[in-house]
């Protein structure tokens, strides 16, 4: 079997208005089948993708925010959110969906997937990756 690589999907855009966020999420779900070491990072307006209570009824776009809750099923459970990007937009962890994954080895215990990290830590994480895909 080939060596596992570290893949990071970097999300920097607001969820609606462009198709980037939805396309990026779909690529993550498809890519999850390849059993690589996958993580996602959210910074700049990308942090809005994870917010609770999204309502797209006045737009022509489907509200795909529930799909982020499926990431745990796809074993995507490292979701990094940049602290400074949240601060700049007046957001806190409480404004984001509570994303979890189930640990099969611990009787499906639900564990949080989101980790809020500083810009410096984010830079270090980016440095560690083999592949970065930017949406």
């Amino acid at each position: 079997m080939s060596e596992t690589k570290k893949f990071m999907y970097l999300n920097r855009r607001a969820p609606y208005g462009t198709i980037y966020a939805l396309e990026g999420l779909e690529v993550v779900l498809i890519g999850a089948a390849f059993e690589q070491d996958v993580s996602m990072a959210f910074m700049d307006d990308g942090v809005f993708q994870l917010t609770k209570g999204q309502d797209t009824s006045d737009s022509d776009m489907k509200n795909f925010s529930p799909t982020y809750n499926a990431l745990g099923d796809y074993e995507v459970n490292k979701i990094y959110v940049e602290q400074e990007s949240m601060d700049d937009r007046g957001l806190t962890l409480d404004d984001l969906q509570h994303l979890v994954w189930e640990d099969e080895d611990e009787d499906y215990a639900k564990k949080p997937s989101i980790r809020v990290v500083s810009r410096q830590v984010m830079a270090d994480l980016l440095e560690e990756q083999d592949v970065i895909l930017n949406y």
């Binding site: 795909f64 529930p66 499926a70």
Partner: protein
């Protein structure tokens, strides 16, 4: 393409997936199965109903790997394996069961 059930015509895509999932009914699922030469039994419905609930919650049809794991958790390990699911849905559990459930083809399924 289209599908006729009890005198009503429903629009489908070129692979027979229902265009509007809000139009779904169990009669539509049964008609699709008959057209494939299959007969839906209780074990089929367990999977179809699971898929509809999954879609309702997450707005996606799960990949087959995710489906298998989730069925195992929900319905027991003896059902959460690809042998069991392929026996029920020989054309591929995610693909075929999603079609009968009125869902779009699973993301990443080509």
């Amino acid at each position: 393409m289209s599908l006729e059930v009890n005198g009503t015509v429903y629009e489908t895509d070129e692979e027979g997936y229902l265009a509007d999932l809000n139009q779904w009914s169990s009669e539509i699922a049964e008609k699709m199965a008959i057209d494939d030469g299959a007969n839906l039994t209780q074990p089929h419905w367990e999977v179809i109903n699971f898929l509809r609930e999954y879609y309702e919650e997450y707005q996606i049809a799960p990949a087959v790997r995710v489906l298998t794991k989730a069925i195992g958790k929900r319905l027991g390990k003896d059902k959460g394996n690809s042998k069991y699911l392929y026996e029920l849905f020989p054309y591929g559990p995610a693909k075929q069961a999603c079609k009968y459930a009125g869902l779009p083809k699973p993301t990443g399924c080509v």
